[in-house]
Symmetry: C2
Amino acid sequence: MGEQHQGFGDRLASAIGLTSPLCAGIDPSSALLGQWGLTDDAAGLATMARTVVAASAGVAAAIKPQVAFFERFGSAGYAVLEEVIALASDAGLLVVIDAKRGDIGTTMEAYGEAWLDDRSSLAADALTVTSYLGIDAMEPVFDLARASGRGLFVVVASSNPEGRALQEAKISPTMSIEQSLLADLGRRNRAEIASTQCAFGSLGAVVGATRSAGQLDLASLAGPYLVPGVGAQGATPEDVATLFAHCSPRSVLVNASRSILSAGPDEGAVRAAAESLATELTRAL
Amino acid sequence: MGEQHQGFGDRLASAIGLTSPLCAGIDPSSALLGQWGLTDDAAGLATMARTVVAASAGVAAAIKPQVAFFERFGSAGYAVLEEVIALASDAGLLVVIDAKRGDIGTTMEAYGEAWLDDRSSLAADALTVTSYLGIDAMEPVFDLARASGRGLFVVVASSNPEGRALQEAKISPTMSIEQSLLADLGRRNRAEIASTQCAFGSLGAVVGATRSAGQLDLASLAGPYLVPGVGAQGATPEDVATLFAHCSPRSVLVNASRSILSAGPDEGAVRAAAESLATELTRAL
């Protein structure tokens, strides 16, 4: 060890600067595989995922495979995921694994070993996590991410309405869960920035584009955002620009999946859809 | 479809009656593989997991593989998990997958297809889930579980101290998140009981044995509990009996992992440790 890695926040900012704020979500549901004329199995999954990676190279900053759609096919699906991670890295795309892992102790460490360790066949650039078991239980993966130049995105405020009651619940009379998570992650990021002189910390947050501005102090994170909700879920690039007006545009990664994948199966058409959205996002942010 | 399945709550109650309230947790961490003299790879993982399954047959009601420890080895680890699920089912053990999945929409459906669908190589008897994105977002897997005779365990009150602040946060002035989850699951289970005449609903809850009695109306669940925290985390079988005094003993499944696995690598020694704990639990509950 002892090596110096550039932190994930800064690596993401560079990637956004070179390409766009777009993250191409790879969500190969049974329905989408059918729309592309592919078989509902690991072979169909591989074809769709390879096409999205090829179409995103140079256009998007990152891809985001949704692990559930690989897990549907068991070990064969995970073998496809290993291939997709390697292909994307070779194509210069960052890989954000959407797995929403969350556990305690040695289990959380094991998730870190699976997704954030060079020795793993699944090693990616960042992982989404959820904190129902407590943000402090994630300390082992926070440390591992920083040490390896990788990142985490903690789900703070999701894009779906069903999440509101829990995420807005009060941990004290004046503090909601989502506010408290942002404040906690911001403290950790500022400590990392102070000690390594990076511009952005490694610990990101997921905040849905469907949320309204003013409810959360988003600028306090000092780290990257992963933003779902644009396109099929109803938010626009302008909504994202308004919501993150006080954040650096290079810290805002906007995920879109259905609006890109529904252009398939032709790779050129998928690339054109991604380019169109990337241009819109770059202009708005 | 249209088939009639016995629901998961009743299947679990039968299994507990035939064997014991013990659930043998399979948590093959790097440290434990080393203690057993096994290699830290998929082959070592397979040896440990097969041993625990063989040692638990007829002693425990269920096994609970912790997916993180399989994911560490990527697709090769998932292939071992597929084998372990099949072996355990053949040995008459219920399989509870500890994966703490939680997402929305088609993603949540995909998790259901991975873990709760006959056609999947990973199909198990029950799956643990977390609800940071909202309990209502889980509707698709609730439906799938009931339709296929499978179950879910929603993490309500975890055994670790770091989870307290979030789980006790107030969604209304008089209602905590954990209380509200229990009430919601209880409503759904009572509707299932009314329509199918089962004794217990399919929707379970995870409540740590380290919690104290009186904070939660545990009897209102009308479904099964998965209880971590006994042994290495400090709680005793008597603590479990006190906490669940108002619940049917056949609805309480008590997980233990380190206290069983640390007896290895000899299968007979692992079986003896499991038998000893099973006897203690049966006596206490």
